[in-house]
């Protein structure tokens, strides 16, 4: 259809929005509140990045410097040249990769069973998965530490990986289940009616559909494992074996804190999380609703 043949719709006289002054004030008030909340949320992050770019003597000046006027990269240089930075990066990458790979595969299989099959004790299992996430890590860590020290896994990355799975897995199973429930059973059944085997239906129908869910779940797992602190802090003593988060905490020393490089290091550590989040943020919004609360 070209625009020439289109019949112009009769213009509807615009209904003047009759918002009374009071109502407008009301709306303004809510908007201002929204902006304030936004600022409160964003400011710490901004301050971290801003401090990372400030030269040393300006960081602790009494008049706060809102925008770094003479930005410098020296803090980043210092952070990267801190002892054990690259060790920490390597360790973090190893731990996170293994945890994500293992947890996504295991969680996918478990969630498949929970979402697609009926078996005795299934509901109890789901309740358990939800409930176990509510146990604080700081409480869990004492028995686990004793257990792991008996297995000689303290101060080893394998021990930390095993520990991480204890809290990443319940979460990933739950999220994965949410995604799988969103796929109607009819699709698989239709494929099987058309002659696909159960496995064929799984590979050709279910897997492509659940792909976004797999990606989102692995990002969740990534963020959790990447940001974890207590376990790594307790389990890894030797500096060469520490992960990035423990390495970051080592900036706070008895003699005070070296804020510039600390903030630069923190910015560097936050970067992968932010990048991954941006890559999948739309799916994460969906994943949150699919996995957590569906009203």
């Amino acid at each position: 259809m070209t625009s020439g043949t289109q019949i112009a719709p009769t213009p509807i006289p615009p209904i003047a929005p009759r918002i009374s002054g009071r109502r407008r004030l009301h709306k303004l008030g809510w908007n201002v509140l929204g902006v304030i909340v936004l600022v409160v949320m964003v400011f710490p992050v901004y301050w971290m990045v801003a401090t990372a770019f400030k030269p040393g003597q300006k960081i602790l000046s009494y008049t706060p410097q809102w925008i770094p006027t003479s930005p410098t990269l020296s803090n980043f240089r210092d952070a990267v040249h801190q002892p054990f930075f690259w060790d920490a990066v390597k360790n973090s990458v190893i731990v996170v990769t293994v945890v994500v790979a293992l947890s996504v595969v295991l969680a996918f299989l478990a969630a498949l069973a929970l979402a697609k099959f009926r078996f005795y004790g299934r509901k109890a299992f789901i309740v358990l998965i939800l409930g176990v996430q509510m146990v604080p890590l700081a409480a869990l860590i004492i028995p686990l530490y004793i257990l792991m020290s008996r297995l000689h896994q303290v101060d080893k990355l394998t021990g930390v990986i095993a520990m991480y799975l204890t809290f990443v897995l319940p979460f990933t199973v739950w999220t994965m289940r949410g995604f799988l429930l969103g796929i109607p059973k009819d699709l698989e059944e239709a494929a099987m009616v058309d002659g696909a085997t159960r496995f064929g239906a799984f590979v050709r129908i279910l897997l492509p559909l659940v792909g976004p869910g797999l990606v989102a779940t692995s990002i969740f797992a990534f963020i959790q494992a990447w940001n974890e602190f207590i376990i790594a802090y307790v389990f890894l003593h030797t500096p060469q074996k520490q992960t990035l988060m423990v390495w970051l905490a080592s900036f706070t020393t008895l003699r005070g804190t070296d804020w510039g490089p600390l903030m630069a290091g923190a910015t560097l550590c936050a970067l992968p999380v932010v990048v991954f989040f941006l890559l999948v943020q739309r799916r994460i919004a969906f994943g949150l609703t699919a996995g957590a609360v569906r009203g």
């Binding site: 509901k123 789901i126 309740v127 939800l130 409930g131 509510m134 146990v135 604080p136 890590l137 700081a138 409480a139 869990l140 860590i141 004492i142 028995p143 530490y145 004793i146 429930l181 602190f229 207590i230 307790v234 905490a249 706070t252 020393t253 008895l254 609360v293 569906r294 009203g295």
Partner: protein
């Protein structure tokens, strides 16, 4: 509001559970040496077990902490069941 109620209950119970176990922020800011004024239960348990090696006492504190949280967890799980989340 009545429609949003279940979500409020879920979020409130989750928030109670999560905020009850605050550890990292306090720990890192005070460089692993918080005085008892700054103790949360998580920090208390951690201090007892890993800094003065009273693992038994630490574990006991942790158990008490879990028991405290049990109430909130029950509210959360019940609401999830009601919302039809657990099928």
């Amino acid at each position: 509001m009545p429609l949003l109620m279940p979500i409020f209950v879920i979020l409130t119970s989750l928030s109670i559970i999560w905020d009850f176990q605050v550890f990292q922020q306090i720990w890192v800011m005070l460089d692993g040496r918080p005085t008892s004024d700054y103790y949360t239960m998580a920090i208390y348990a951690f201090h007892q077990s890993f800094q003065i090696s009273e693992y038994g006492l630490g574990a006991a504190i942790a158990v008490v902490m879990v028991l405290f949280m049990f109430g909130a967890t029950l509210v959360y799980l019940r609401q999830m069941l009601r919302a039809g989340e657990i099928r």
